[in-house]
Amino acid sequence: MSNTSSVLDMPEQAFAGLETRDAHAWFGKHHALAGVSLRFPAKSVTGLIGPSGCGKSTYLRLLNRMHEFIPNSAMAGEVLLHGDDIYGESVDPAAIRLKVGMVFQKPNPFPAMTIRENVISGLKLAHIKIDNEQDLVEKCLSRAGLWKEVKDRLDASGGSLSGGQQQRLCIARSLAVEPEVLLMDEPCSALDPGSTLRIEETIKELAEKITVVIVTHNMQQASRVSDYCAFFLSDGGPGVLVEADQTRKMFTNPTDTRTADYVQGKFG
């Protein structure tokens, strides 16, 4: 079945080059996600929403080949990046992950490293040569909205920052390898409201240059930061994509009654 709505149908937005076709995911015998076809719009924020256990995080991890690190996991369907299947025969998964970066739920700067080392750690890991370290560090930290706060203590440990700052450091770390797409898995769920707002501002700024896909189970957050929304739901079986559209439309005039019920807080 590939009759699910595709986000690209919005005329004013270009296509980001990332799409899934009939994507399925399993954990062992458990069928977690079924038949998701979705095309992501470029230079915008797409929110993946839905109650917990609906497969939205699984879907996110499918997009940059992080799903396969879970033992006994399996998948089916296609995930295409610029038309090439990222699960294809001769694809280097590390190269995919460089193009499609990821920020995790809990802030997790590398504990043994300074702020500066954290920012450039991705380049070291991927064996990418660094031309001008100082510029790069400043650029990434600025884009993550952290530069002003830490410019005088770049050699302090990453762990010395507050939770919100740590998460912005993690964003800066992901930006250093210049991904086309940044996946975020509930990046604010471990943070206080003030830090959450700062991160949301950062996300919006990022979307001017790159494509952001964010998983959130917070309706308000989805309506604040995202330009597009995809609603996932599981009725006990595998999670499916119910509806995907512009966020404004999803929250005011959704096509599917289940979406309406969910965004109005009737369940979830």
Partner: protein, 346 residues
Amino acid sequence: MSEFTIPQPTRPWDRKRSEVVRSGVSLAIVGLLSFAIVLFTGFSGVDGWALCILLLCVAVLIYRGRKLSKKERGNATVQLVITAAAILAFAPWLSIFGSVLVKGIVGLKVNFVTSDMRTTVPDDDLSMGGALHAILGSLLMVLMATIITLPLGILSGVYLTEIKGRFTFLVRFVIQSMSGVPSIVAGLFVFTTYVSATHGPTALGGSLALGILMLPTVARTAEEVLKLVPDDLRSASLALGARQWRTTLMVVLPTVRSGLITAGILGVARVIGETAPLLLTAGSSTAFWFNPVKGPIASLPIYVFGMLQIGTEYAVNRAWTGALVLMLAVFALFFTARKLGGKDKR
């Protein structure tokens, strides 16, 4: 919901069949080449083989690594190094299990466990004499050590988990440090305090030394086991008006009964092969008699040790057989502990 056909789950990240085949072919070539090298050059023995294979693997790595990026080449190199070092780490144990089994089984006849060395000299045929006295001696000493140590170990565990008094940190620290006391020092201690003050080596002396070595293991395992008891259970009992001592004795300890037995078994497994302290405290003999406070007593480790010291062919055979029995005993204890240990958790 519309009907859809569910596709077959796939794991595209698994190694491709072509890759597996290629690796297999490489390995086969490596094997054949090593065979040729061992046959026609100075390499020989197990270590010669291992070195050949390692060198050829490096060659294959270099050959196949031409096309890889620097990162992938580094990754593959490290994988080879780690695998080789891990094999080197595991090889001695496999060699030990193998040689104990192969060399020990030669002398493992019925008489080994049914007769002693009263009328047999070590050089006699293997169908004569045995280690019954040593086995009984070991059992007696280990049993006495357990009787002394198990209550103390459990009390320590109870103290650390139920009472949590002022000395908690100290007790835990002392138990940890005590597990590192060299066995010969424990033997020396019992010798200076007990053995030299009485009538020389006895079973009681041996079991005191073994008890010292057992205590940390028992105490630590008991603590681990008692930690698994959910606090709700204690609260529930206290809320019913039970005193702490009744709660501990009637509720907490019975819940982890098999875990506490596990603690004892692990303690026994820890000391049953101890040799050095028994040299000083229990001595050796050629037959078994049941008097814990008088006269030296044989034990399985000392039997092995003594036979090895004699060094003649049959004596060494007896030593290997003793080692086999000892190892089987340790493993049996170990598996029993595992079986029991899993029980409480469920």
